[in-house]
Amino acid sequence: MRAWTLKLTSCLLTGLATVGSAVYVTGHLKSSKAPLHPPVVTAATGGHLNLSPSVKSSGDQQPLTFTSVS
């Protein structure tokens, strides 16, 4: 195989990798305005619920008892 063929192939592969990476990155941009932490999981009417990732929650499970104003 001639040397210029190897050079051309390596240049093409490098170019393809660069273009492919650029296309992937621009297609998966993260919104700079997205809330990072802590996440708002759900909110009952009119209120604001804030649970850290360490708190396990389930909207489907019936509670055994609940905290409330008494």
Partner: protein, 272 residues
């Protein structure tokens, strides 16, 4: 696994006990313990130990280990809340008309005018030593702000390694729960699983007896609090801490509450 359950009235509210691997008698003993402490710590009974302490005239008086612990807890609550959770609000509550327990069927008497001053810091009002305590003349202690969480924590220790003690919404969940995932607790419209954690709610929507008259006194004014929050629920390491954080957040108002709770709690619910 279905836990044993007991519901009863105490502390002016509904109390619930749940426990895995404990029988009904163990829960009944727990309820008896709560009722006994309620009898000793209520401010509405003039013969209670707390009423006797409130009637003391500024000197050192002997107090039981339980009352001493609770008074120390009140000082701790005052400290970690920046002075907002203040057990020395009895006279402010009376001045606002909260003279009767809601559970007695009588509504408190609305007062048309309330003339009160900001409260001095609690350590200027209350001093506690081993087996004794001293109260500044002209002031009284109301333990309603911290007693339920404290009692929930203590009773959970007595009930065993897998239980929930819920005293009117202030609760402590101990152990892995009935299915090993933690105890499913209703919290801010969803269900959370608590394991060796407490939760509590503070609010102004109940125990009201007139416009702007409710049980939550702001020590900065000596009057029922005016907050842009009506209800706050908080998760914490204990029921006592949850109750302190919830009350502090409510008194702070929404903006400061979120900042405060970010430093203290893994989860909270704020209702305007």
């Amino acid at each position: 696994m279905s836990p044993e359950r007991l519901e009863f009235q105490a502390l002016g509210t509904v109390c619930q006990l749940y426990a895995v691997d404990r029988d009904a008698q163990a829960l009944a003993h727990g309820a008896t313990w709560v009722l006994e402490l309620h009898r000793r710590l209520t401010r509405f009974d003039p013969t209670s130990e707390l009423s006797a302490f409130n009637a003391s005239n500024g000197g050192w008086v002997r107090v039981s280990a339980t009352l001493e612990d609770l008074l120390r807890e009140a000082l701790y609550a005052h400290e970690i809340s920046g002075g907002l959770v203040h057990a020395g609000v009895l006279h402010a509550l009376l001045a606002a008309g909260y003279t009767h327990s809601f559970s007695e069927g009588d509504r408190p008497n609305p007062r048309s005018t309330i003339v009160l001053d900001p409260l001095p810091p609690l350590p200027d009002v209350l001093a506690v030593a081993p087996g004794a305590a001293k109260l500044r003349p002209g002031y009284g202690i109301d333990l309603g702000g911290i007693a339920k969480g404290w009692l929930a924590d203590r009773l959970a220790e007595r009930l065993g390694e897998n239980c929930v003690v819920n005293l009117g919404g202030d609760l402590f969940a101990r152990g892995i729960g009935p299915d090993g995932e933690g105890w499913p607790i209703g919290f801010g419209g969803t269900t959370i699983y608590l394991r060796d954690q407490g939760a509590a709610t503070s609010g102004t929507i109940k125990r009201r007896w007139g416009p702007d008259l409710h049980h939550l006194v702001d020590p900065r004014t000596g009057r029922p609090a005016k907050s842009n929050l009506q209800e706050v629920s908080v998760i914490a390491a204990s029921g006592t801490d949850a109750e302190i954080y919830a009350k502090t957040a409510l008194l702070l108002g929404r903006q400061s509450a979120e900042f405060y709770l970010e430093q203290h709690s893994p989860g909270w619910w704020l209702s305007p």
